[in-house]
Symmetry: C2
Subunit: 308 residues, 2 copies
Protein backbone atom coordinates (compact mmCIF):
# COMPACT_ATOMS: atom_id res chain seq x y z
CA UNK A 1 0.00 0.00 0.00
CA UNK A 2 1.57 3.28 -1.15
CA UNK A 3 0.65 5.54 1.74
CA UNK A 4 3.87 7.45 2.34
CA UNK A 5 5.01 10.81 0.92
CA UNK A 6 8.60 11.99 1.28
CA UNK A 7 9.48 15.69 1.34
CA UNK A 8 13.10 16.81 0.95
CA UNK A 9 14.30 20.37 1.54
CA UNK A 10 17.82 20.76 0.18
CA UNK A 11 19.71 23.64 1.76
CA UNK A 12 23.29 24.81 1.40
CA UNK A 13 24.42 23.20 4.67
CA UNK A 14 21.76 20.63 5.58
CA UNK A 15 19.14 18.52 3.86
CA UNK A 16 15.87 18.12 5.76
CA UNK A 17 13.85 14.99 5.07
CA UNK A 18 10.30 14.36 6.20
CA UNK A 19 8.13 11.26 5.99
CA UNK A 20 4.39 11.96 5.77
CA UNK A 21 1.15 10.06 5.41
CA UNK A 22 -1.09 10.95 2.47
CA UNK A 23 -2.94 13.54 4.54
CA UNK A 24 0.29 15.39 5.28
CA UNK A 25 0.73 14.18 8.86
CA UNK A 26 4.45 14.30 9.65
CA UNK A 27 5.51 10.81 10.78
CA UNK A 28 9.24 11.34 11.10
CA UNK A 29 11.85 13.92 10.13
CA UNK A 30 15.60 14.00 10.12
CA UNK A 31 18.54 15.84 8.58
CA UNK A 32 21.70 14.92 6.74
CA UNK A 33 24.58 17.25 5.85
CA UNK A 34 24.78 18.72 2.34
CA UNK A 35 27.86 17.45 0.55
CA UNK A 36 28.68 20.30 -1.83
CA UNK A 37 31.95 18.81 -3.04
CA UNK A 38 32.31 17.71 -6.68
CA UNK A 39 29.63 20.17 -7.75
CA UNK A 40 27.09 18.58 -5.41
CA UNK A 41 27.17 15.38 -7.43
CA UNK A 42 26.59 13.16 -4.36
CA UNK A 43 23.58 15.04 -2.97
CA UNK A 44 20.86 12.98 -4.60
CA UNK A 45 22.54 9.63 -3.86
CA UNK A 46 23.03 10.70 -0.22
CA UNK A 47 19.32 11.47 -0.01
CA UNK A 48 18.46 8.16 -1.64
CA UNK A 49 20.67 6.18 0.75
CA UNK A 50 19.40 7.94 3.85
CA UNK A 51 15.75 7.37 2.97
CA UNK A 52 16.37 3.77 1.95
CA UNK A 53 17.79 3.11 5.43
CA UNK A 54 14.54 4.26 7.02
CA UNK A 55 11.84 3.40 4.52
CA UNK A 56 10.56 0.65 2.27
CA UNK A 57 10.18 2.28 -1.14
CA UNK A 58 7.26 -0.09 -1.82
CA UNK A 59 5.27 2.09 0.60
CA UNK A 60 6.23 5.41 -1.01
CA UNK A 61 3.82 7.13 -3.34
CA UNK A 62 6.23 9.90 -4.23
CA UNK A 63 9.15 12.07 -3.23
CA UNK A 64 9.28 15.83 -3.67
CA UNK A 65 12.29 18.15 -3.51
CA UNK A 66 12.62 21.83 -2.67
CA UNK A 67 15.78 23.34 -4.15
CA UNK A 68 17.27 26.85 -3.70
CA UNK A 69 17.29 27.84 -7.38
CA UNK A 70 15.09 28.10 -10.46
CA UNK A 71 13.25 24.90 -11.35
CA UNK A 72 11.11 24.17 -14.40
CA UNK A 73 9.20 20.87 -14.73
CA UNK A 74 11.33 19.30 -11.97
CA UNK A 75 14.56 20.26 -13.76
CA UNK A 76 16.86 22.51 -11.72
CA UNK A 77 18.30 25.14 -14.09
CA UNK A 78 21.03 26.37 -11.75
CA UNK A 79 21.79 26.25 -8.08
CA UNK A 80 24.89 28.14 -7.00
CA UNK A 81 24.55 27.10 -3.33
CA UNK A 82 24.73 23.41 -4.21
CA UNK A 83 27.19 23.70 -7.08
CA UNK A 84 24.50 22.42 -9.43
CA UNK A 85 24.02 23.57 -12.97
CA UNK A 86 21.37 21.76 -15.05
CA UNK A 87 20.10 18.84 -12.94
CA UNK A 88 17.04 16.83 -13.97
CA UNK A 89 16.01 15.82 -10.46
CA UNK A 90 13.08 13.66 -11.58
CA UNK A 91 15.16 11.73 -14.06
CA UNK A 92 18.29 11.38 -11.91
CA UNK A 93 16.49 10.36 -8.75
CA UNK A 94 14.28 7.91 -10.64
CA UNK A 95 17.47 6.33 -12.02
CA UNK A 96 18.81 5.96 -8.46
CA UNK A 97 15.51 4.40 -7.41
CA UNK A 98 15.58 2.01 -10.33
CA UNK A 99 11.79 1.86 -10.31
CA UNK A 100 9.00 3.78 -11.99
CA UNK A 101 6.27 3.45 -9.36
CA UNK A 102 7.45 6.41 -7.23
CA UNK A 103 6.62 9.94 -8.40
CA UNK A 104 9.55 12.34 -8.26
CA UNK A 105 8.99 16.10 -8.45
CA UNK A 106 11.01 19.20 -7.64
CA UNK A 107 10.32 22.90 -7.29
CA UNK A 108 11.98 26.01 -5.92
CA UNK A 109 12.37 26.18 -2.12
CA UNK A 110 10.32 29.35 -1.70
CA UNK A 111 7.59 27.83 -3.86
CA UNK A 112 7.43 24.68 -1.74
CA UNK A 113 7.26 26.80 1.42
CA UNK A 114 4.01 28.07 -0.10
CA UNK A 115 2.66 24.62 -0.90
CA UNK A 116 3.69 23.50 2.60
CA UNK A 117 1.49 26.16 4.18
CA UNK A 118 -1.32 25.00 1.88
CA UNK A 119 -0.79 21.36 2.87
CA UNK A 120 -0.77 21.74 6.64
CA UNK A 121 -0.12 25.37 7.58
CA UNK A 122 -1.75 28.79 7.37
CA UNK A 123 -3.44 28.26 4.01
CA UNK A 124 -5.03 24.84 4.40
CA UNK A 125 -7.88 24.31 1.95
CA UNK A 126 -6.84 27.22 -0.30
CA UNK A 127 -5.91 26.73 -3.93
CA UNK A 128 -4.92 30.30 -4.86
CA UNK A 129 -2.23 31.57 -2.57
CA UNK A 130 0.71 33.96 -2.53
CA UNK A 131 3.46 33.58 0.03
CA UNK A 132 6.40 35.82 0.93
CA UNK A 133 9.33 34.38 2.89
CA UNK A 134 11.10 37.26 4.61
CA UNK A 135 14.44 35.84 5.66
CA UNK A 136 18.02 36.82 4.82
CA UNK A 137 16.55 37.45 1.38
CA UNK A 138 12.94 37.66 0.26
CA UNK A 139 11.52 34.59 -1.45
CA UNK A 140 8.07 34.10 -2.82
CA UNK A 141 5.74 31.38 -3.96
CA UNK A 142 2.56 31.56 -6.02
CA UNK A 143 -0.08 28.86 -6.21
CA UNK A 144 -2.86 29.07 -8.79
CA UNK A 145 -5.67 26.54 -8.74
CA UNK A 146 -3.68 24.17 -6.53
CA UNK A 147 -0.51 24.21 -8.62
CA UNK A 148 2.72 26.09 -7.93
CA UNK A 149 3.71 28.52 -10.66
CA UNK A 150 7.29 27.68 -11.65
CA UNK A 151 7.28 29.90 -14.74
CA UNK A 152 9.08 29.70 -18.04
CA UNK A 153 12.58 30.27 -16.56
CA UNK A 154 11.78 29.12 -13.03
CA UNK A 155 11.29 32.75 -11.99
CA UNK A 156 7.69 32.24 -10.87
CA UNK A 157 7.19 33.67 -7.40
CA UNK A 158 10.43 35.70 -7.40
CA UNK A 159 8.61 38.43 -5.49
CA UNK A 160 11.74 39.54 -3.66
CA UNK A 161 13.20 40.96 -6.85
CA UNK A 162 10.44 43.32 -7.87
CA UNK A 163 11.95 46.79 -7.90
CA UNK A 164 9.99 48.90 -5.42
CA UNK A 165 12.41 51.45 -4.03
CA UNK A 166 13.20 54.22 -6.49
CA UNK A 167 14.53 56.53 -3.75
CA UNK A 168 17.28 54.80 -1.76
CA UNK A 169 18.08 52.29 -4.48
CA UNK A 170 20.09 50.00 -2.23
CA UNK A 171 22.10 47.41 -4.19
CA UNK A 172 20.68 43.88 -4.39
CA UNK A 173 22.56 40.58 -4.70
CA UNK A 174 20.78 40.05 -8.01
CA UNK A 175 22.60 43.03 -9.55
CA UNK A 176 19.68 45.44 -9.60
CA UNK A 177 18.96 48.23 -7.14
CA UNK A 178 15.90 48.81 -5.01
CA UNK A 179 14.46 45.28 -5.11
CA UNK A 180 11.93 44.41 -2.40
CA UNK A 181 14.65 42.25 -0.85
CA UNK A 182 16.85 45.34 -0.28
CA UNK A 183 14.27 46.93 2.01
CA UNK A 184 12.13 44.13 3.45
CA UNK A 185 14.42 41.17 4.17
CA UNK A 186 16.14 40.88 7.56
CA UNK A 187 19.25 42.35 5.92
CA UNK A 188 17.20 45.01 4.15
CA UNK A 189 15.50 46.20 7.32
CA UNK A 190 18.85 46.58 9.04
CA UNK A 191 20.23 48.47 6.04
CA UNK A 192 17.19 50.72 5.92
CA UNK A 193 17.59 51.44 9.64
CA UNK A 194 21.28 52.28 9.23
CA UNK A 195 20.40 54.57 6.35
CA UNK A 196 17.82 56.44 8.41
CA UNK A 197 20.20 56.69 11.38
CA UNK A 198 22.91 58.15 9.18
CA UNK A 199 20.56 60.65 7.58
CA UNK A 200 19.18 62.02 10.83
CA UNK A 201 20.39 63.33 14.19
CA UNK A 202 17.27 62.14 15.92
CA UNK A 203 17.76 60.14 19.10
CA UNK A 204 17.09 56.43 18.73
CA UNK A 205 17.74 53.45 20.98
CA UNK A 206 19.23 51.76 17.91
CA UNK A 207 22.20 54.15 18.31
CA UNK A 208 23.14 52.32 21.53
CA UNK A 209 24.15 49.25 19.52
CA UNK A 210 27.24 49.01 17.37
CA UNK A 211 25.37 46.47 15.30
CA UNK A 212 21.82 45.17 15.45
CA UNK A 213 19.40 42.71 13.89
CA UNK A 214 16.03 43.14 12.18
CA UNK A 215 14.46 41.73 15.35
CA UNK A 216 16.07 44.58 17.30
CA UNK A 217 14.56 47.11 14.90
CA UNK A 218 11.11 45.61 15.48
CA UNK A 219 11.60 45.48 19.25
CA UNK A 220 12.60 49.15 19.30
CA UNK A 221 9.67 50.07 17.06
CA UNK A 222 7.28 48.22 19.36
CA UNK A 223 8.78 50.20 22.26
CA UNK A 224 7.98 53.45 20.43
CA UNK A 225 11.35 54.37 18.93
CA UNK A 226 10.68 56.91 16.18
CA UNK A 227 13.35 55.91 13.70
CA UNK A 228 12.68 52.18 14.14
CA UNK A 229 8.98 52.87 13.66
CA UNK A 230 9.67 54.75 10.45
CA UNK A 231 11.74 51.82 9.14
CA UNK A 232 8.97 49.33 9.90
CA UNK A 233 6.36 51.58 8.28
CA UNK A 234 8.54 51.98 5.20
CA UNK A 235 9.19 48.22 4.88
CA UNK A 236 5.47 47.57 5.35
CA UNK A 237 4.68 50.12 2.66
CA UNK A 238 6.96 48.37 0.14
CA UNK A 239 5.58 44.96 1.10
CA UNK A 240 2.07 46.42 0.76
CA UNK A 241 2.83 47.61 -2.76
CA UNK A 242 3.93 44.18 -3.93
CA UNK A 243 1.11 42.48 -2.06
CA UNK A 244 -1.35 44.82 -3.82
CA UNK A 245 0.28 43.98 -7.14
CA UNK A 246 -0.25 40.29 -6.47
CA UNK A 247 -3.84 40.98 -5.38
CA UNK A 248 -4.58 42.94 -8.55
CA UNK A 249 -3.00 40.41 -10.88
CA UNK A 250 -3.99 37.12 -9.21
CA UNK A 251 -6.48 38.16 -6.53
CA UNK A 252 -5.60 35.13 -4.36
CA UNK A 253 -7.69 33.79 -1.49
CA UNK A 254 -4.97 34.46 1.07
CA UNK A 255 -1.49 35.96 1.37
CA UNK A 256 0.97 34.31 3.78
CA UNK A 257 4.12 35.84 5.27
CA UNK A 258 6.81 33.55 6.63
CA UNK A 259 10.51 33.73 7.47
CA UNK A 260 12.22 35.30 10.47
CA UNK A 261 11.02 38.85 9.79
CA UNK A 262 7.40 37.68 9.87
CA UNK A 263 7.97 36.65 13.49
CA UNK A 264 7.27 40.32 14.22
CA UNK A 265 3.67 39.12 13.96
CA UNK A 266 0.58 41.30 13.61
CA UNK A 267 2.70 44.40 14.41
CA UNK A 268 4.11 44.00 10.90
CA UNK A 269 1.27 42.12 9.18
CA UNK A 270 -1.41 44.66 10.11
CA UNK A 271 0.72 47.44 8.64
CA UNK A 272 1.24 45.46 5.43
CA UNK A 273 -2.50 44.72 5.25
CA UNK A 274 -3.45 48.40 5.57
CA UNK A 275 -1.04 49.36 2.77
CA UNK A 276 -2.03 46.44 0.55
CA UNK A 277 -5.67 47.44 0.94
CA UNK A 278 -4.88 51.08 0.18
CA UNK A 279 -2.94 50.19 -2.98
CA UNK A 280 -5.42 47.59 -4.24
CA UNK A 281 -8.74 49.32 -3.44
CA UNK A 282 -11.47 48.98 -4.48
CA UNK A 283 -10.80 45.79 -6.43
CA UNK A 284 -9.27 43.13 -4.24
CA UNK A 285 -11.15 43.12 -0.98
CA UNK A 286 -11.05 41.10 2.20
CA UNK A 287 -7.91 39.15 1.41
CA UNK A 288 -6.56 37.67 4.66
CA UNK A 289 -2.91 38.51 5.33
CA UNK A 290 -1.58 35.93 7.75
CA UNK A 291 1.61 34.61 9.29
CA UNK A 292 3.02 31.24 8.25
CA UNK A 293 2.63 28.39 10.73
CA UNK A 294 5.18 25.76 9.78
CA UNK A 295 8.44 27.65 10.34
CA UNK A 296 11.47 25.81 9.01
CA UNK A 297 9.42 22.68 8.29
CA UNK A 298 7.39 24.39 5.53
CA UNK A 299 9.87 23.12 2.93
CA UNK A 300 9.48 19.41 3.71
CA UNK A 301 5.68 19.71 3.94
CA UNK A 302 5.56 21.58 0.65
CA UNK A 303 7.93 19.20 -1.11
CA UNK A 304 5.71 16.29 -0.02
CA UNK A 305 2.67 18.23 -1.33
CA UNK A 306 4.20 18.11 -4.82
CA UNK A 307 3.61 14.33 -4.95
CA UNK A 308 0.44 14.09 -2.81
Amino acid sequence: MKDILIGVDIGGTAIKIGKFDLQGELLHKWEIPTDRTDKGSRILSDVHRSITEQTDWDDVRGIGFGVPGPVVDSVVLACVNLGWKHVDVAKEFSALLGRADVFVRASNDANVACSGEVFRGAAVGKKNVAMFTLGTGVGGGIMVDGTLVDGKNGAGGELGHLVVDFDHRLPCNCGKHGCLETVASATGIVNLAKLHLSQSDRESSLRHFSDFSAKRVFDCAKAGDGIAMRVVDEAADYLGRVTAGVMLSLNPEIVVFGGGVANAGRFLLDRIAIKADEYSAPFAKDTPIVGALLGNDAGIYGAAYLVR
Copy 2:
Protein backbone atom coordinates in the same frame (compact mmCIF):
# COMPACT_ATOMS: atom_id res chain seq x y z
CA MET B 1 -22.74 17.09 -34.11
CA LYS B 2 -21.76 19.83 -31.66
CA ASP B 3 -19.11 21.65 -33.64
CA ILE B 4 -19.97 25.31 -33.03
CA LEU B 5 -18.68 27.69 -30.36
CA ILE B 6 -20.35 31.05 -29.72
CA GLY B 7 -18.43 34.00 -28.33
CA VAL B 8 -20.28 37.06 -27.03
CA ASP B 9 -18.59 40.34 -26.12
CA ILE B 10 -21.01 42.52 -24.19
CA GLY B 11 -20.12 46.21 -24.36
CA GLY B 12 -21.92 49.29 -23.06
CA THR B 13 -23.35 50.23 -26.49
CA ALA B 14 -23.08 47.10 -28.64
CA ILE B 15 -22.93 43.35 -28.19
CA LYS B 16 -20.62 41.51 -30.57
CA ILE B 17 -21.44 37.91 -31.37
CA GLY B 18 -19.18 35.45 -33.16
CA LYS B 19 -19.82 31.93 -34.40
CA PHE B 20 -16.72 29.73 -34.52
CA ASP B 21 -15.79 26.17 -35.33
CA LEU B 22 -14.03 24.13 -32.64
CA GLN B 23 -10.62 25.23 -33.90
CA GLY B 24 -11.54 28.90 -33.45
CA GLU B 25 -12.13 29.70 -37.11
CA LEU B 26 -14.57 32.63 -37.25
CA LEU B 27 -17.55 31.56 -39.38
CA HIS B 28 -19.77 34.56 -38.92
CA LYS B 29 -19.98 37.66 -36.73
CA TRP B 30 -22.58 40.28 -36.10
CA GLU B 31 -23.63 42.92 -33.59
CA ILE B 32 -26.79 43.87 -31.75
CA PRO B 33 -27.36 47.01 -29.66
CA THR B 34 -27.02 46.81 -25.89
CA ASP B 35 -30.35 47.51 -24.21
CA ARG B 36 -29.32 49.02 -20.89
CA THR B 37 -32.85 49.89 -19.79
CA ASP B 38 -34.42 48.17 -16.79
CA LYS B 39 -30.97 47.47 -15.32
CA GLY B 40 -29.94 45.56 -18.43
CA SER B 41 -32.50 42.88 -17.71
CA ARG B 42 -33.16 42.18 -21.42
CA ILE B 43 -29.53 41.78 -22.48
CA LEU B 44 -29.27 38.00 -22.11
CA SER B 45 -32.65 37.33 -23.74
CA ASP B 46 -31.70 39.66 -26.64
CA VAL B 47 -28.51 37.65 -27.13
CA HIS B 48 -30.44 34.39 -26.93
CA ARG B 49 -33.01 35.51 -29.50
CA SER B 50 -30.42 36.87 -31.92
CA ILE B 51 -28.36 33.68 -31.88
CA THR B 52 -31.45 31.47 -32.12
CA GLU B 53 -32.37 33.28 -35.36
CA GLN B 54 -29.04 32.32 -36.88
CA THR B 55 -28.09 29.01 -35.31
CA ASP B 56 -29.43 25.59 -34.39
CA TRP B 57 -28.55 25.14 -30.72
CA ASP B 58 -28.22 21.39 -31.37
CA ASP B 59 -24.94 22.26 -33.12
CA VAL B 60 -23.58 24.43 -30.32
CA ARG B 61 -21.03 23.03 -27.91
CA GLY B 62 -20.96 26.11 -25.74
CA ILE B 63 -21.38 29.86 -25.46
CA GLY B 64 -18.95 32.16 -23.69
CA PHE B 65 -19.45 35.75 -22.56
CA GLY B 66 -17.03 38.60 -21.98
CA VAL B 67 -18.43 41.21 -19.60
CA PRO B 68 -17.01 44.60 -18.53
CA GLY B 69 -16.89 43.93 -14.80
CA PRO B 70 -15.63 41.48 -12.18
CA VAL B 71 -16.66 37.87 -12.77
CA VAL B 72 -16.12 34.84 -10.54
CA ASP B 73 -17.09 31.34 -11.70
CA SER B 74 -19.27 32.79 -14.49
CA VAL B 75 -21.15 34.99 -12.02
CA VAL B 76 -20.93 38.72 -12.76
CA LEU B 77 -20.50 40.53 -9.43
CA ALA B 78 -21.23 44.02 -10.72
CA CYS B 79 -21.28 45.79 -14.03
CA VAL B 80 -22.03 49.51 -13.89
CA ASN B 81 -21.94 49.93 -17.70
CA LEU B 82 -24.74 47.41 -18.18
CA GLY B 83 -26.71 48.26 -15.05
CA TRP B 84 -26.05 44.75 -13.74
CA LYS B 85 -25.48 43.88 -10.14
CA HIS B 86 -25.16 40.19 -9.28
CA VAL B 87 -25.95 38.22 -12.45
CA ASP B 88 -25.32 34.47 -12.67
CA VAL B 89 -24.76 34.37 -16.42
CA ALA B 90 -24.35 30.58 -16.61
CA LYS B 91 -27.53 29.92 -14.68
CA GLU B 92 -29.66 32.63 -16.33
CA PHE B 93 -28.61 31.88 -19.88
CA SER B 94 -29.02 28.12 -19.34
CA ALA B 95 -32.57 28.85 -18.16
CA LEU B 96 -33.23 30.82 -21.37
CA LEU B 97 -31.83 27.92 -23.40
CA GLY B 98 -33.96 25.42 -21.52
CA ARG B 99 -31.39 22.72 -22.19
CA ALA B 100 -28.34 21.40 -20.37
CA ASP B 101 -26.23 20.25 -23.32
CA VAL B 102 -24.70 23.69 -24.05
CA PHE B 103 -21.84 24.93 -21.85
CA VAL B 104 -22.24 28.51 -20.67
CA ARG B 105 -19.30 30.42 -19.24
CA ALA B 106 -18.44 34.06 -18.57
CA SER B 107 -15.35 36.04 -17.67
CA ASN B 108 -14.17 39.63 -17.58
CA ASP B 109 -13.76 41.38 -20.96
CA ALA B 110 -10.05 42.10 -20.52
CA ASN B 111 -9.50 38.49 -19.48
CA VAL B 112 -11.24 37.16 -22.60
CA ALA B 113 -9.17 39.51 -24.76
CA CYS B 114 -6.22 37.52 -23.39
CA SER B 115 -7.77 34.12 -24.11
CA GLY B 116 -8.74 35.39 -27.57
CA GLU B 117 -5.11 36.11 -28.40
CA VAL B 118 -4.27 32.60 -27.14
CA PHE B 119 -7.00 31.03 -29.26
CA ARG B 120 -6.18 32.64 -32.60
CA GLY B 121 -3.99 35.70 -32.08
CA ALA B 122 -0.51 36.67 -30.89
CA ALA B 123 -0.20 33.97 -28.23
CA VAL B 124 -1.37 30.85 -30.06
CA GLY B 125 -0.09 27.68 -28.41
CA LYS B 126 0.86 29.42 -25.16
CA LYS B 127 -0.70 28.46 -21.85
CA ASN B 128 0.91 31.05 -19.58
CA VAL B 129 0.22 34.55 -20.81
CA ALA B 130 -0.19 38.09 -19.55
CA MET B 131 -2.03 40.66 -21.63
CA PHE B 132 -2.41 44.41 -21.21
CA THR B 133 -5.18 46.23 -23.09
CA LEU B 134 -4.19 49.88 -23.39
CA GLY B 135 -7.38 51.67 -24.37
CA THR B 136 -9.37 54.45 -22.71
CA GLY B 137 -8.41 52.60 -19.53
CA VAL B 138 -5.88 49.84 -18.97
CA GLY B 139 -7.25 46.32 -18.70
CA GLY B 140 -5.35 43.14 -18.12
CA GLY B 141 -5.75 39.41 -18.40
CA ILE B 142 -3.69 36.61 -16.92
CA MET B 143 -3.70 33.01 -18.09
CA VAL B 144 -1.99 30.30 -16.06
CA ASP B 145 -1.73 26.79 -17.42
CA GLY B 146 -4.42 27.45 -20.02
CA THR B 147 -6.97 28.92 -17.61
CA LEU B 148 -7.86 32.58 -17.09
CA VAL B 149 -7.31 33.81 -13.55
CA ASP B 150 -10.56 35.41 -12.39
CA GLY B 151 -9.49 35.67 -8.74
CA LYS B 152 -11.42 35.62 -5.50
CA ASN B 153 -13.28 38.92 -6.16
CA GLY B 154 -12.96 38.91 -9.94
CA ALA B 155 -9.96 41.24 -9.66
CA GLY B 156 -7.58 38.84 -11.43
CA GLY B 157 -5.73 40.63 -14.19
CA GLU B 158 -6.61 44.15 -12.97
CA LEU B 159 -3.16 45.29 -14.05
CA GLY B 160 -4.34 48.81 -14.86
CA HIS B 161 -4.88 49.56 -11.20
CA LEU B 162 -1.45 48.78 -9.83
CA VAL B 163 -0.12 51.99 -8.34
CA VAL B 164 3.09 52.88 -10.16
CA ASP B 165 3.34 56.65 -10.18
CA PHE B 166 4.31 58.05 -6.80
CA ASP B 167 5.37 61.40 -8.30
CA HIS B 168 2.53 62.90 -10.33
CA ARG B 169 -0.18 60.92 -8.60
CA LEU B 170 -2.84 61.66 -11.19
CA PRO B 171 -6.34 60.70 -10.00
CA CYS B 172 -7.80 57.43 -11.30
CA ASN B 173 -11.45 56.55 -11.90
CA CYS B 174 -11.05 53.80 -9.31
CA GLY B 175 -10.53 56.36 -6.55
CA LYS B 176 -6.81 55.86 -6.09
CA HIS B 177 -3.99 58.01 -7.46
CA GLY B 178 -1.08 57.02 -9.67
CA CYS B 179 -2.53 53.78 -11.07
CA LEU B 180 -0.93 52.45 -14.26
CA GLU B 181 -4.12 53.52 -16.04
CA THR B 182 -3.46 57.18 -15.14
CA VAL B 183 -0.18 57.23 -17.06
CA ALA B 184 -0.39 54.49 -19.72
CA SER B 185 -3.94 54.48 -21.09
CA ALA B 186 -4.84 56.69 -24.05
CA THR B 187 -6.27 59.18 -21.56
CA GLY B 188 -3.27 58.80 -19.28
CA ILE B 189 -0.76 59.50 -22.02
CA VAL B 190 -2.62 62.67 -22.98
CA ASN B 191 -2.75 63.75 -19.32
CA LEU B 192 0.94 63.01 -18.89
CA ALA B 193 1.72 65.08 -21.99
CA LYS B 194 -0.39 68.01 -20.75
CA LEU B 195 1.38 67.81 -17.40
CA HIS B 196 4.80 67.95 -19.03
CA LEU B 197 3.74 70.81 -21.33
CA SER B 198 2.48 72.81 -18.34
CA GLN B 199 5.63 72.19 -16.34
CA SER B 200 8.05 73.25 -19.06
CA ASP B 201 8.60 76.13 -21.49
CA ARG B 202 10.27 73.86 -23.98
CA GLU B 203 8.99 74.06 -27.55
CA SER B 204 6.86 71.12 -28.63
CA SER B 205 4.71 70.52 -31.68
CA LEU B 206 2.03 69.39 -29.23
CA ARG B 207 1.62 73.04 -28.29
CA HIS B 208 0.19 73.71 -31.76
CA PHE B 209 -2.96 71.76 -30.88
CA SER B 210 -5.64 72.97 -28.51
CA ASP B 211 -6.37 69.34 -27.81
CA PHE B 212 -4.72 66.11 -28.94
CA SER B 213 -4.93 62.33 -28.74
CA ALA B 214 -2.50 59.68 -27.53
CA LYS B 215 -1.87 58.85 -31.18
CA ARG B 216 -0.77 62.47 -31.72
CA VAL B 217 1.68 62.15 -28.84
CA PHE B 218 3.18 59.04 -30.43
CA ASP B 219 3.31 60.66 -33.88
CA CYS B 220 5.13 63.67 -32.46
CA ALA B 221 7.50 61.43 -30.50
CA LYS B 222 8.26 59.44 -33.65
CA ALA B 223 9.00 62.76 -35.38
CA GLY B 224 11.52 63.59 -32.66
CA ASP B 225 9.54 65.96 -30.44
CA GLY B 226 11.37 66.10 -27.09
CA ILE B 227 8.40 66.42 -24.76
CA ALA B 228 6.39 63.78 -26.61
CA MET B 229 9.42 61.50 -26.47
CA ARG B 230 9.74 62.00 -22.74
CA VAL B 231 6.05 61.11 -22.26
CA VAL B 232 6.43 57.91 -24.28
CA ASP B 233 9.58 56.95 -22.36
CA GLU B 234 7.83 57.59 -19.07
CA ALA B 235 4.74 55.56 -20.01
CA ALA B 236 7.00 52.74 -21.25
CA ASP B 237 8.90 52.85 -17.97
CA TYR B 238 5.70 52.43 -15.93
CA LEU B 239 4.49 49.66 -18.24
CA GLY B 240 7.92 48.04 -17.94
CA ARG B 241 7.68 48.05 -14.15
CA VAL B 242 4.35 46.24 -14.13
CA THR B 243 5.47 43.89 -16.88
CA ALA B 244 8.55 43.04 -14.80
CA GLY B 245 6.32 42.45 -11.80
CA VAL B 246 4.26 40.00 -13.82
CA MET B 247 7.44 38.35 -15.11
CA LEU B 248 8.83 37.93 -11.60
CA SER B 249 5.61 36.60 -10.12
CA LEU B 250 4.30 34.45 -12.98
CA ASN B 251 7.17 34.34 -15.45
CA PRO B 252 4.80 33.81 -18.41
CA GLU B 253 5.79 32.56 -21.84
CA ILE B 254 4.72 35.77 -23.55
CA VAL B 255 3.33 39.23 -22.76
CA VAL B 256 0.82 40.74 -25.20
CA PHE B 257 -0.13 44.40 -25.56
CA GLY B 258 -3.41 45.31 -27.22
CA GLY B 259 -5.77 48.27 -27.39
CA GLY B 260 -5.46 51.51 -29.33
CA VAL B 261 -2.27 52.68 -27.61
CA ALA B 262 -0.48 49.47 -28.65
CA ASN B 263 -1.06 50.52 -32.27
CA ALA B 264 2.08 52.61 -31.75
CA GLY B 265 3.76 49.27 -32.47
CA ARG B 266 7.40 48.40 -31.84
CA PHE B 267 8.15 52.09 -31.16
CA LEU B 268 6.34 51.56 -27.84
CA LEU B 269 6.80 47.80 -27.37
CA ASP B 270 10.59 47.89 -27.71
CA ARG B 271 10.77 50.58 -25.05
CA ILE B 272 8.55 48.54 -22.71
CA ALA B 273 10.67 45.43 -23.37
CA ILE B 274 13.91 47.22 -22.49
CA LYS B 275 12.46 48.48 -19.22
CA ALA B 276 10.81 45.15 -18.35
CA ASP B 277 14.14 43.42 -18.91
CA GLU B 278 15.96 46.00 -16.80
CA TYR B 279 13.50 45.63 -13.90
CA SER B 280 13.28 41.83 -14.03
CA ALA B 281 16.94 40.91 -14.66
CA PRO B 282 18.48 38.45 -14.24
CA PHE B 283 15.51 36.19 -13.45
CA ALA B 284 12.93 36.36 -16.21
CA LYS B 285 14.74 36.24 -19.50
CA ASP B 286 13.76 36.14 -23.14
CA THR B 287 10.07 36.81 -22.64
CA PRO B 288 8.60 37.98 -25.96
CA ILE B 289 6.69 41.26 -25.72
CA VAL B 290 4.34 41.42 -28.68
CA GLY B 291 1.41 43.34 -30.07
CA ALA B 292 -2.07 41.82 -30.12
CA LEU B 293 -3.39 40.63 -33.48
CA LEU B 294 -7.15 40.42 -33.15
CA GLY B 295 -8.07 44.04 -32.51
CA ASN B 296 -11.69 44.50 -31.49
CA ASP B 297 -12.50 40.86 -32.25
CA ALA B 298 -10.31 39.56 -29.40
CA GLY B 299 -13.34 39.52 -27.09
CA ILE B 300 -15.50 37.19 -29.19
CA TYR B 301 -12.57 34.85 -29.86
CA GLY B 302 -11.70 34.76 -26.17
CA ALA B 303 -15.29 34.26 -25.06
CA ALA B 304 -15.54 31.31 -27.43
CA TYR B 305 -12.25 29.96 -25.98
CA LEU B 306 -13.95 29.68 -22.58
CA VAL B 307 -16.16 26.87 -23.90
CA ARG B 308 -13.78 25.29 -26.43
